[in-house]
Amino acid sequence: MAQQTLRPTRSVCRTDTTTTIRAAGGRSGANTGTSSTPCSVSTSSCLLVYIIYKQVVHAAPHVDLFPTENREDMLSPSTDKLTEVLEEANKLFKDVRRAREAALDAQLLVVATDLGKEKASQLFSEGSAFDPTAFAEHLLSFMGLNRLEDGDGGPQNAGAADGYLPRDAWHRLSRRVECCFRTAPSFHYMMGSFHAEPPAPKQRTERQRKAPTKEAKRIMPTQLKKMEESHQEATEKEVERILGYLKTYHQDDPTSPISYYEFVVDPNSFARTVENIFHTSFLIRDGLARMYLDSDKLPCIAPVEEGDVEAASSSSRKQCIISISPKIWKELIDTFEIKDSIIQPPEPHNE
């Protein structure tokens, strides 16, 4: 049979607990007699024992042997109901023959000892006069409860019994009781909290990579703008300058045609020659100059008169592509015996 030994309690109560111990002791005494004898008594008496067991513990058909109402009765210090139950069960145990009844008895004993322990601890606590209510009252005073005498607290104090707690009430209490605790102070990194390794470096590298590209992009447009402007300005200026040269040259001798090659070729620099061709093409595009072939089938250039500009734009335009290489450039110089350039090279200012 399963015997539940009573766990030692702190109490010095003797009434119910010693009864329980005696009952447990009594069990072992009775046990030796009924170890494994087959049931020889008639079925009706076994059934009777079973029914009485159930009645004694007021058991419902399921396991709960001590429903709550009876529990409070058992636990109340004024009654000896627990003792009575145990004594009744003790008596009944003599008639137990079947395993089922013995199991029930064991169950009863388990529950009874738990109850006994609780009852014992209850007795102990009631021996000390510690009243949690009074304690709570003292704490409230300490925390700075404002007790209002006249009850003119207003609508916000409808829920409070009397008075209201200041906002730092609990802080005040915590500060006072800090000394009771030997808590280790929390350790925090000054620069921030601690994360596991993987996320941090990735973020850092991403941000680093993003930053330079953004800056580079930001720099780029301004640079480009500047370049384009200067480029455009330079081109326009150049074109105007060349137009000036052309007009001057033409005015010197309006009748004789200006050879194109003599006009653009710079005997000192091939690059200048190419630039001159480039700028001259703008003049022709804008209709400020025109090219034509003379009797020798050599290209000539002449400025367009002011009045003829509109007429020229309406007439059919022809396109051609001019290519030049250093070899051709040299040949041109030799053939036409160009000594100086008509178009003076520009001063190096914003280059």
Partner: protein
């Protein structure tokens, strides 16, 4: 054992730590992979490593503890071995010993094994708490006050108290477990889960009760950290404030 005399007896924390590894299985599932190495194994392990490596590993363990202690949740040995110690597990006792010494000498903290069965550690303050509140105005955690109330009542009731007693006491202090408190939020969760996880309280079910009821006890951390004498002292002061309610309760 060997010629070199090394004191592996760890006096700073509980005695039953040094168990030579004979059987393999431990209590927890994760812990079952880790067996406490024997003294000779530790010595052999130490010989293979440079002092700098051992110091480095000890520092990592210390940092792990310090950061985990922010939440006041105990550190399990299994986690420590899995995340920090890793390959150095064969010299685990030596690492712990050095870490405990560093905590004492450098930080003024004590590394305590509160659960010898499950091998969990906490850090507590090794220095004696000042008699009066510190003159520095540092903000106190209000949860400490709440915890104090519960521990105080539990202590005065003999170390075990039914949860109803606590809830009623708190209700008198305008802390209702059913409602959201403006300072503490969900009080029930704070008390029954957070404080229990931090091992300040134990919240155990009372058997054979329908509906289910629980009782509160002091937790393992509270046993180490909280001074019962100081609690009594404060209670005495409280009662002195209102001498007309003369209850003799010691």
């Amino acid at each position: 054992m060997t010629q070199r005399k090394r004191s592996f007896g760890s006096q700073s924390f509980s005695q039953n730590r040094r168990q030579p590894s004979s059987s393999g299985t431990q209590e927890d599932n994760e812990d079952s992979t880790f067996t406490q190495p024997s003294t000779s194994q530790v010595q052999r392990g130490l010989e293979k490593l440079t002092p700098a490596q051992v110091d480095q590993k000890t520092s990592e363990v210390i940092q792990y503890f310090l950061v985990k202690d922010q939440k006041k949740v105990p550190v399990r040995r299994a986690d420590l071995v899995k995340h920090v110690v890793k390959d150095y597990r064969n010299i685990y006792p030596e690492i712990i010993k050095r870490a405990a010494r560093t905590f004492e000498q450098v930080f003024g903290l004590k590394l305590v094994e509160i659960d010898p069965k499950n091998h969990t550690y906490i850090l507590i303050n090794n220095l004696e708490a000042a008699d009066k509140p510190s003159p520095v105005e540092c903000p106190a955690n209000p949860k400490l006050g709440l915890l104090f109330v519960i521990l105080g009542v539990t202590f005065m009731k003999g170390g075990v108290v039914r949860e109803n007693v606590i809830w009623n006491t708190l209700k008198k202090l305008r802390v209702d477990s059913g409602e959201k408190h403006e300072e503490f939020g969900d009080v029930k969760r704070l008390v029954t889960e957070e404080f229990v996880r931090q091992r300040y309280l134990e919240y155990v079910r009372i058997p054979h009760t329908e509906p289910m009821e629980h009782e509160f006890r002091w937790g393992q951390r509270a046993d180490m950290e909280v001074s019962k004498a100081k609690i009594l002292e404060f209670m005495g002061q409280l009662h002195e404030q209102e001498p007309q309610i003369g209850r003799c309760w010691l």
